[in-house]
Symmetry: C2
Subunit: 398 residues, 2 copies
Amino acid sequence: VSVTFPEGFRAAGVTAGLKPSGRPDLGLLAAEGPASVAGLFTTNAFPAAPVRLSRDRIRRAGGIARAVVVNSGQANAATGEPGDADALTTTVEAARLLDVDPAEVLACSTGVIGERIPMDTLAASLPELVGTLSSDGGEAFAEAIMTTDTVPKQATAVAGPYRVGGCAKGVGMIAPNLATMLAFLTTDAHLEPSALSELAHRVARPAFESLTVDACTSTNDTVLLFAGGAAAGDPIAPGSRAWAGLEVAFAEVAVALVEQLAADAEGGSHVVVVEVEGAVDGADARRVAKAVADSPLVKTAAFGGDPNPGRILQAVGSSGATFDPADVSIAIGGVRVVDGGVIPQDYVAGELRGLAQAEMKEPRFVVSVTIGAGPGRGRAIGCDLSYDYVRINAEYTT
Amino acid sequence: VSVTFPEGFRAAGVTAGLKPSGRPDLGLLAAEGPASVAGLFTTNAFPAAPVRLSRDRIRRAGGIARAVVVNSGQANAATGEPGDADALTTTVEAARLLDVDPAEVLACSTGVIGERIPMDTLAASLPELVGTLSSDGGEAFAEAIMTTDTVPKQATAVAGPYRVGGCAKGVGMIAPNLATMLAFLTTDAHLEPSALSELAHRVARPAFESLTVDACTSTNDTVLLFAGGAAAGDPIAPGSRAWAGLEVAFAEVAVALVEQLAADAEGGSHVVVVEVEGAVDGADARRVAKAVADSPLVKTAAFGGDPNPGRILQAVGSSGATFDPADVSIAIGGVRVVDGGVIPQDYVAGELRGLAQAEMKEPRFVVSVTIGAGPGRGRAIGCDLSYDYVRINAEYTT
């Protein structure tokens, strides 16, 4: 059900023929009335045409939108002004069929960078797409936005009288030539645009930014949050009790989607969660967590099932974070492999090594790093680097 | 000949038995008298014991040294105070045999992080090591410092009456669990320590920092420059004509070693040189070059022989450098694959793609990135990401 779990949203997904695979490739999510919307977009200096269009429309409309059209197959990035025209045409045509103002229709694309969307093909399927909108279309929508994903990613949560739903796609921060991580979160709670934007930055941003498959920031990454307000009640004020419940529910959905994305990462056979504590602040903790999760040597060691504490230490040491090496301890699944900046000689002798190896056989394991006694905590969710990652990314040709 | 190409240096390499492979593992480079010395050391927050010892001694002795002892097999990093004692003992024992002040003997180690050097084994071979010092021992020294390197890396250059020689080891910024890139450069020119230090930072640092195999900074990286002064003449002043010649010669040797290191990179089948111009300054240009050379998606595309301009664009766009996307052009071996921030439609159609693919079949190819009209230029030298990189780093166990 995902994005249609909350009241007041309809969705659909169809096969327009944009992808050679013949799988669903065109999706639509629509609110019953004007909904509050908040967006998180890629920081890449080459944002795709739909990213620029959606970012501008959210700003100009003051955080109100009615629908978003998503195509998979072509990223519509690095396509110049013709690409801008394609994104615009897509939303104008969808708005006409939905009978709403084009200024309230957003767009997302995911697929090959540099390729134009076959607009005739897309336009021919829009009537069917709008015609099949339904309040249980969440799954069809989640399937239509997939590229090389092997499973759709969906999650739901409840906060008192309110529902939160979400779906996402992406097998890398950038997938093989197919740019993008896309995520859509909905709620039937009544939230003003500014309140929704605060939720986006407080809850959704840290959750999605903790994910790293290959340290590559795509040109199309987008997270959109919609609050339709179908549930009864006044607007929920930041800081209120209802707000606190919604924060938890949004975090639950966002983290569940992030875990599903990590589990389906390209060529990944293990999810590696890096938890850091004791840093001077949260930013430093996240810097260390990302440095460990992104290190190719840590990632290949995770693939090989070799604890290799020297490599984790190397990554912590080159992260640029502030700490005293003598305060650094590292554990793998609870097995201490670095103590006070030193690899214990009973690790080298082999006893601890066997225990840590056993932990690494799990499909998901945690690397815990303590770098001092400060209040800063942070985490990163990544995966191993396997032969399959190389195969998928080396053999892929448009 | 490498480091013994200049007059006034002797070197040796022996098999002490520190490495299970039974290959040479202990080297010594010695100047005939007190030599000016300059060092570049890892910025990792966990510097190995020999790194800390050598850095301190160069500072305390005012840039004067007589010799450096290098072992391969154990990195002597993350070994705590016992590791500090091992590095100290090594230099004290070598100094006694050389009959020089221990304060003028430096140490380097390369090998497994966390393992102690078997000191009895090392000490037993020191007399043979000192006894075999010779003015044509450069090659034996270059072989003794290798870990998983498949070939020794050596280079020489001449600047008028002066000679410059060098050798290096390293198959990654960090090799498989075997920390380190080590490089040694020598000259018979007469250079004060301050002048040699200036050469180190002006010439050697940018050359070695342009190298990236896996974006991992080891705990043991060290570049040492020695100026013995065996050639006649007064100290050479920075800015003089002789200085300019030496700059070129040092750069020639450093770049030649860097190219040899890149060519022998772990699992690498292609050297990828990224040249950036038009940046606001050199730092921004180097940021872009490193971002492209380090991107796992660019590296797997290089392995697969797929030009994939969208991935290069993605890396440029997430580098954090300052530029206007509309000013960005990218070429592979001279074939333009991005023009004004856009992938040309005749690339997508396949004509340019075939030409760029042909360029990528070369064992070494250049990716040229122009990001504006600024004066900043920079380069990075990297390699592709292959099945072999994953195999070497996943299967390696201490």
